[in-house]
Amino acid sequence: MNREELAEKLDREIDGFIERNTLSEPAPLDVPFQVPAELRLLPYLPSEEFRARLKEELLEQAESLRSSRVYASSEILPSLNQPSVPSFSTRQIAVLPADPRSLVLSFLSHAAVVALIASGIWVGHVTLVEKRTLLSELTYTPLPAAKGGGGGGDRSAMRASRGTPVKFADDQFAPPAIVVHVEKPKLQRDATLIGPPDLKLPQSKQPGDLFSPNAVIPSNGTGNRGGIGDGVGTGISTGHGLGDGPGLERGYGGGVYPPGNGVTAPHVIYNPDPEYADEARRIKYQGNVVLSLIVDPLGKVRQIRVARSLGMGLDEKAVEAVQKWRFVPGMKDGRPVAVQVNVEVTFRLY
């Protein structure tokens, strides 16, 4: 048998060897040389990926231990209840004393699972993906001062009435108005706000401040210099300028705020689960993805980026799902604003 034939035969043997996928009935390779028996263990060597992932999990566990009070007090830590140098006797393994608290906890958790199954709430999902926002655990990068926005009004006694922004354009020939003081202008032009023309916001026939509490009485608002709102300028809202929002100059939104200092955190109201990536499921790959994103004043998710990657296609699955999430937006001075938050998505297989 030449080397080519030997390589072919060896490969066929290896195919069968891998397909059997069991250590309990190992079959020696039927090749003209004796392959050391230890090679039967080759399919069971751990993947480097697993090794690295487990290390990451342990570091996370270490971090939570370090920060927990439990770790600060060694008396609270449960002991393994066994000597530091174990003797490998079957007796010791078989008669390990059970902690009564464990028994109670075990009983309660099993009872809860049985109840869930009986109630039909739990229908036997193989995969459970947890997700939670990490709003309190973040160190926020300082954000630039608020930008984008406008305001206006005609010094009305009433706050500007609620409506939708008019369209954005590069120029403004006519400011938006609800209460029209010039009934028949000589030159009829559509009202615009200064901002990117492709910026799309909710539109209706009724212009106004999208977030105003005044939904009843028509008013241009308590601001001045035209426009609609309680700010200054020919825009809409409480800002200062020709755009829409609590910010300055033009555009929309009033910038992005971190939670705190008078800005409330967004609250998630719709959060569909991510799917599990096939490859990750196959190798039981688990862990956390942290996404950094902006929740805009309408509660929609903008500008997602992966702040802590997990890999194996799970980052993409997390982004895909979180893109669909909806929030109650963060509030500042009673108005919704864009808020930057991080969201942690935990992938676990049960």
Partner: protein
């Protein structure tokens, strides 16, 4: 060959991990292969071996502060946890009773041979190692590996043959 006799090198690492849990990573790196090898010989699939290995290290980290240094290597303590984890695993599967664990006192030698296999694979030439890992550990077909390496299937089979011959040579004296 590492034995289960005392190893004073472990002590500073253990004390460091007891004071700062993140330092457990060093104990993990030092003992991972042995704990994994303990399971690789006793379960049917790689997934099981990986799950049980993870369980041992999570338990060990959670209880590291209760460890009392008595002159024995840290890995002996890990083997103790591993034996309990395995016993529970088997009981759950209903395949074995705890008694079937048998006498584990010879576990050290078996484990060391598995560790040597891992080291032998590590010492292969890069191309040979890649073929062995992709073929056996990742269980890829020759065709997939050939595409990945940009070589013909025949060339990959030859690489596989040479790699196994080298492994045989390196492990031959220990079997």
């Amino acid at each position: 060959m590492r034995t289960l006799e005392g190893n004073s090198d472990d002590r500073p690492l253990i004390e460091a991990a007891q004071n700062e849990p993140a330092r457990f990573a060093e104990l993990y790196e030092q003992n991972f292969v042995r704990v994994y090898a303990f399971f690789a010989r006793r379960v049917s699939t790689r997934d099981e071996a990986q799950d049980l290995t993870a369980e041992v290290f999570h338990q060990a980290l959670a209880s590291i502060r209760s460890f009392t240094w008595q002159g024995s290597p840290f890995v002996a303590w890990l083997y103790g946890i591993a034996a309990n984890v395995l016993a529970k695993h088997w009981e759950k599967l209903g395949k074995h009773s705890a008694q079937e664990l048998g006498d584990l006192s010879s576990a050290g030698d078996e484990i060391e041979r598995t560790v040597m296999l891992g080291k032998a694979v590590e010492s292969l030439l890069p191309d040979q190692k890649r073929v062995i890992v992709r073929r056996f550990v990742d269980q890829k077909s020759i065709r997939e590996i050939a595409q990945e390496l940009g070589r013909s299937e025949g060339a990959v089979k030859q690489l596989q043959l040479r790699a196994l011959e080298n492994l045989r040579q390196r492990l031959g004296g220990t079997i």
